[in-house]
């Protein structure tokens, strides 16, 4: 993961695994609001990274810094081995930003005219037809930009983001205005981008979808990384397994002291144990002759993992970076 200091230009394999982006102790505040608090993050070339976090966690600020739209007040941001603004000027980054209420497109212009313009802004753009195919906007080319629906405009903006054939693609809440169906096909397109060897970083709220596509999930809260890993690793790292069963005579205190158990919920006959080690908990249940039936072990979803991580921001500080 970390390259040796002396070995930076030793061979091409090393160079290709060079960081696509690097945040080093980046702090940024808007007025009194601390958006980023000494953020440290490194992403290698070819990774597809999901940036998760609640609103105001610092995701959009992270994107802004990566594009050089905002300059960090402290710390350094490096993109593709250079300054963000330079990487943008070299046409090595493509981005889809949040647009709020707007479409993010110029009005009164045909989609193909707009897309051809964006292509010409880059030195080595992808062929027009390929971009159209990748974004699936063949049907929309002859339409005027102000006649597009929200989801259609998103696709067109996605096409604009990849028109320059960039090494790094940044997508800030790319599926915000989409229904479930278009979201699914949209994630498919993003998945393809990653497969082409590009580095993709996207911010999203749709955790399950992110989990399916991202090779790595980074959870940000209060301007810091609170969890970082593959979707599955993340889930495992966070308690994240539950033992559920029915028991007519459940005693809260007795269950709470069982091996592995971190939390007990009893509702009528129904018992839910959060456990760090379900095997140990099961043996303990049997040893203690707990009268259980309908036993079931479930893995907590990323959704719960996420809620856990961001809900206990203070607690996560202990396990985080010093």
């Amino acid at each position: 993961m970390s390259t040796a200091v002396g070995g930076q230009v030793r061979d091409s394999a090393l160079r290709s695994s060079k960081h696509a982006l690097r945040f080093d102790g980046v702090t940024h505040r808007y007025g009194r609001h601390l958006a980023l608090d000494g953020l440290c993050l490194e992403v290698s070339g070819g990774e597809t990274v999901a940036l998760l976090g609640p609103n105001g966690a610092g995701k959009s600020t992270t994107m802004s810094l990566l594009l050089g739209l905002t300059r960090p007040q402290a710390g350094t941001v490096e993109v593709l081995g250079t300054a963000p603004r330079l990487a943008v000027a070299q046409g090595r980054i493509g981005a889809m930003l949040q647009t709020g209420t707007g479409t993010g497109l110029p009005s009164h212009v045909r989609v193909d005219v707009m897309l051809r313009l964006v292509m010409r802004l880059y030195r080595n753009p992808a062929p027009f037809d390929l971009t159209v195919e990748r974004a699936g906007i063949g049907r929309l080319l002859r339409r005027q930009t102000h006649q597009l629906s929200g989801g259609e405009a998103q696709r067109v903006r996605f096409a604009a983001a990849i028109a320059g054939d960039p090494e790094l693609v940044l997508l800030d809440e790319p599926t915000a205005a989409m229904d479930v169906h278009s979201r699914r096909s949209f994630w498919q397109m993003i998945h393809q981008l990653g497969k082409q060897g590009r580095t993709v970083v996207f911010a999203t709220h749709h955790l399950q979808e992110a989990d399916q596509i991202a090779t790595r999930v980074v959870v940000i809260n209060h301007g810091k990384v609170v969890a970082d890993g593959a979707g599955a690793t993340l889930k495992a790292a966070v308690t994240a397994r539950q033992v559920r069963f029915s028991c007519p005579s459940a005693q809260h205190d007795r269950l709470d002291s069982l091996e592995g158990v971190t939390d007990v919920t009893v509702a009528g006959d129904c018992v839910v144990l959060d456990s760090l080690d379900t095997d140990a908990t099961l043996w303990a249940l049997m040893r203690n002759k707990v009268d259980f039936s309908h036993l079931e072990i479930t893995s907590a979803g990323l959704e719960e993992a996420f809620a856990f991580l961001t809900g206990s921001g203070e607690g996560a500080d202990n396990g985080g970076a010093p």
């Binding site: 594009l67 993010g104 009005s107 009164h108 005219v113 880059y122 903006r157």
Partner: protein, 250 residues
């Protein structure tokens, strides 16, 4: 350079293909001119050295370029900023300065037909007769003189919300037009207003055109005032654009 050329062509095409917008922008000053021509009482007033009909045409050329400058840039640019298109362009290799310079250039492109059309109306209905060379000279001069209006339009577009752009543009249009003497010679106004007129780019824009036609000598003051406006507004545009870029997160 390639990116700049592509964006320039795109913007010009977008403006010139928007027929409704062009018809209103070009048509408004022409209709205004026609209304003035229909007012026969006004025909007795002169600006001293130049016949009223010539004065009116030059004034309407200036008014027309003011209208075109403010509307072509102002409201549209404000709308683009709100929609997020200018932010999207900022994450492409297109340099920030070319965005601004293309906006000014495209606005100048819209101003040219306005100037020419007002002159065509002047020659056919306004009773203005001149040698061909003078027409060409006047056209070029009136077009160049419109530069501060185009820059002012871009500045408004960078500063205001689309909803406030309309009242701001309309207000400035009539204030600068009236007090700059475009709806009637300044020397009929009270003394205080006459002095004020000498501070406005509209007054000096028209003055330059009139000076060309009546040979009253090179109006150094007008050139200086217009140059000062262009530079001052230009610097304000650069500053506004810088602030806009830094805003980053919406």
């Amino acid at each position: 350079m390639r990116a700049l050329a592509a964006f320039g062509r795109f913007e010009a095409g977008r403006l010139l293909r928007n027929w409704k917008f062009l018809a209103i922008t070009v048509g408004f000053p022409v209709i205004f001119y026609m209304l003035f021509l229909g007012d026969h009482q006004a025909g007795r007033i002169t600006d001293g050295t130049v016949p009223w009909r010539v004065y009116l045409m030059v004034a309407m050329c200036t008014f027309g370029s003011l209208v075109a400058g403010l509307t072509a840039a102002g409201g549209r640019l404000a709308g683009e900023r709100l929609a997020g298109w200018s932010r999207q362009l900022r994450v492409t290799p297109l340099p920030g300065w070319s965005y601004i310079s293309v906006k000014v250039t495209a606005t100048m492109l819209v101003i040219l037909p306005v100037v020419v059309l007002v002159e065509v109306v002047g020659a056919s209905f306004g009773g203005v007769h001149m040698p061909a060379a003078s027409w060409v000279e006047l056209s070029v001069l009136m077009w160049v003189v419109a530069l501060p209006f185009a820059v002012l339009g871009v500045l408004i577009g960078l500063l205001v919300h689309p909803e406030t752009a309309f009242p701001v543009v309309t207000g400035l249009m009539f204030l600068l037009g009236y007090f700059g003497g475009l709806f009637g010679p300044v020397d009929r106004m009270p003394r205080g207003l006459q002095t004020a007129a000498h501070l406005l780019p509209t007054y000096h824009g028209a003055s330059l055109g009139l000076a060309l036609l009546d040979g009253r000598g090179f109006p150094v003051e007008s050139c200086l005032v217009l140059a000062a406006y262009t530079v001052g507004l230009g610097l304000a545009v650069l500053q506004a654009h810088r602030v806009d870029e830094r805003r980053g997160v919406a």
